[in-house]
């Protein structure tokens, strides 16, 4: 007859009574565990990076739910094409170990992934029509365009240029 295995609880082992906490004590316990978890996650560069990347993906999907005219000047909402390309850009960024500063909807219709460091700015914009175009500049310098054919290879090349520009 199979017998269920149980860890023996000896004199030197005990179940912390606080795990049964209710009311105020329970809330305190929840808060402490949450704080500990945040400390653990923040303490791990890998986990922190993962959390940030997941947040970026969630941001892209959230932008897909914007209404038409979200900017009050008639901007189209991002569509499935721009979302798919924005996710592709995020995947490529991950392989370059390079994180965006912000992800914004584009007033032209689409999603832009932005990078800023001091007076250096760059973005790569995924349009609702399927185009993926980048731009970069520093200060008042004339902006430089990065054209892609929306394939992984050409987007990667553009992102590398942006990374080099942003990191100086």
């Amino acid at each position: 007859m199979p017998v269920a295995y149980e860890n023996p609880i000896g004199q030197d082992q005990f179940v912390p009574a606080e795990n049964n906490a209710v009311g105020e004590a329970g809330q305190e316990l929840t808060k402490r565990i949450k704080d500990d978890l945040i400390t653990i996650v923040l303490g791990s560069i890998y986990r922190y990076a993962q959390a940030r990347r997941n947040q970026n993906r969630r941001r892209v999907y959230a932008l897909a739910r914007l209404p038409q005219n979200w900017d009050s000047y008639g901007a189209p909402a991002p569509n499935g094409t721009s979302v798919a390309n924005a996710i592709l850009v995020l995947n490529l960024l991950e392989s370059l170990n390079f994180d965006p500063t912000r992800i914004l909807p584009s007033a032209e219709g689409g999603i832009g992934i932005c990078f800023v460091q001091g007076d250096r700015y760059a973005d790569i914009e995924c349009s609702n029509e399927g185009e993926v175009l980048g731009i970069y500049y520093a200060g008042a310098q004339m902006p430089a365009l990065l054209e892609t054919d929306a394939t992984g290879a050409s987007i990667s090349a553009a992102l590398e240029r942006i990374r080099n520009h942003i990191r100086g």
Binding site: Y73, E108, D123, Y137, L145
Partner: protein, 132 residues
């Protein structure tokens, strides 16, 4: 030519540090209000307070490039006063090819549009800071 400011509302997220993202600008015929006929806060006017907390930015009419792109000029940009029933100062940023036709011409290339949006984003200034 005397300086004239062209106003437009914006949200805080379009500013990254002290840089306005060109993603906040659009073609065609970007809407602005003429400073000659309005106050900056007029672009925030709404019967339903829908723009509460939005900010106002401006660029100068003179900032619009007469020859663009600078290295191989193909287009010219200028403000065109297009008053509407509820907003007399309403204007639009128009584009024409070179040599000028007198009509609105949409640049065929998305690249020129992207370049222009970035170019203008470098020239905007905040008039009323956004809270949202």
């Amino acid at each position: 030519m005397p300086e004239e400011r062209l106003f437009r509302r914006y949200r805080r997220e379009d500013y990254l540090g002290n840089q306005f993202s060109g993603l906040g600008f659009a073609f065609p015929k970007q809407s602005v209000n003429r400073g000659k006929y309005s106050n900056p806060e007029d672009v925030l006017f709404s019967n339903t307070d829908e723009f509460e907390g939005w900010g106002v930015l401006y660029f100068r009419a003179q900032d619009l490039p007469l020859r663009f792109p600078p290295d191989v000029a193909q287009y010219t940009f200028y403000p065109r006063h297009v008053p509407d029933d509820e907003m007399y100062p309403h204007s639009e940023v128009w584009c024409d090819r070179l040599p000028q036709t007198g009509a609105y011409v949409e640049p065929a290339s998305k690249s020129v549009r992207k370049l222009f949006r970035a170019f203008m984003s470098q020239r905007v200034r905040v008039e009323i800071e956004a809270a949202v």
